[in-house]
Subunit: 314 residues, 2 copies
Amino acid sequence: MHFSPRELIERVPKHDLRAAARLITQIENNEPSAREVLGALYRAAGRARIIGVTGSPGAGKSTLVDQLAADLNAAGKKAAIIAVDPTSPFTGGAVLGDRIRMARSESAEGIFIRSMATRGSLGGLARATNDAVCELDAAGFDVVLVETVGVGQAEVDVVRTAETIVVVLVPGMGDSVQAIKAGILEIADVFAVNKADRPGADLVQKDLRILLTLTEPEEGSWKPPIVATIATSGEGCAELADEISRHGAWLRDSKSAHDRKLRVMEETIISLAREELYDRVEAKSRKDVEKMARQCLARKLDPYSAAEKLISKQ
Amino acid sequence: MHFSPRELIERVPKHDLRAAARLITQIENNEPSAREVLGALYRAAGRARIIGVTGSPGAGKSTLVDQLAADLNAAGKKAAIIAVDPTSPFTGGAVLGDRIRMARSESAEGIFIRSMATRGSLGGLARATNDAVCELDAAGFDVVLVETVGVGQAEVDVVRTAETIVVVLVPGMGDSVQAIKAGILEIADVFAVNKADRPGADLVQKDLRILLTLTEPEEGSWKPPIVATIATSGEGCAELADEISRHGAWLRDSKSAHDRKLRVMEETIISLAREELYDRVEAKSRKDVEKMARQCLARKLDPYSAAEKLISKQ
């Protein structure tokens, strides 16, 4: 079914989930009309709680997120899940992607879940996710959970606009130094040590505590709590939800939280401008780029000078 | 010690490693003069073999890369290692980063190793790495090994300009479906199943083989071999090096490899242009951006319109 931009602007805020799903597809495909719709929806948004969940592949994030959403639903809140999949940059589509995405836990039944991928650039995935969050916010969801696979910088970018970021760790996935290496210590508002019934779970928690004291948070800043969970049985999920709420309450009163929000918004604007500029450069200069790339490969030109030429043509 | 751009252009191609290290620092800091130097060095580059190594945190990539470099050195080839660390986007520096980076294996003694991080954007890290590769190529290294932590799209971007990409997997880090999810199946030219003495190593190899048959490579395309390694003892490393060489030989004769090279170069030019445009937008409009971000947070403006305003000011 096709919806015009006007119809989307009208239907999405009425919690029309078919219109909402259609708009997310437009966002993924980077359709120009999506921007217009999002611009209109933006002012209606701003009420939902946005929670990001990240962690290593295999940490049990999907099950944990499903559980959180199910508990929220049971408490009468409308929860939506966006599951972000990094996509192969060469073929533009994850192998077996759709089949894998269907395999969610039973607890997620009746919950709005949407997988996202993008054919475009790295920044594109983060932007598309933020756009989808904004849309689901405008659609009247009380909570939007953004789940992303992996602990690299791309994943960090995907969740960074979330108000509360949950980092999921599990025992036996490499030592905690790896967690620092990946930079996740600094973005976490709440740690969940999942599969807490496995050997080594205590050690992960202990290591985390030591590492957290090493970073010496500033006066008045948030000290990330550590919650042990077993997502498959639901154990610890209520406590995790409590800590997420506690962080939400802290955010409302915190000066530094407001500063962070402002900084994230600045970056959002800049990256939107950047994507737009990029699209223009690319659309105008496809042929020039190919020609210059051939010259570069023949070492008759260097890519830095080629980029300069491209810009000066704008 | 300070080197002028002219001195760098003169010294780096003479394999002056202090000058080379200094230029990498300038690249990390995104200093404008680095571009000028790189533009000049680019035409001298193009002789080195560029090998990317990626995989989950804790897969033993560092040890494997050290071993490969040590073997190359023993065979009379000059090898350099660039170890790419995703950096936290919020504080602009990995906690304990320098201390961790020193902990390399003994086999790496006497080898040029450089850690890289960046304060900037996602794309910035990939670009800085490519710049450093170009520089070390011009500096006369025969082989440049780029090692990156993680299996997300940021890491993929870091290694995608490599000619040969080695993906390191280990038993017990989550099933192979996770590997597909992260999109690594499609970028791998060679698979190393490391820690092959651990239980489950056979299973990882078997799963990989099944998954590789599912993707049905096109006629004449490269079929990624799977090599079992134990990086700590050096077992399988010679075989891994052979497969990397075999891929290099295949690349020289392959039409599709040439197409990929051209596509990567096109993307390099576009992303350089994009970064440059981005820097210009940001430099000119810092104050405007803050003002507009405040309006957006108050829902008096939406970020899409804000981005449009920013561009129209260019």
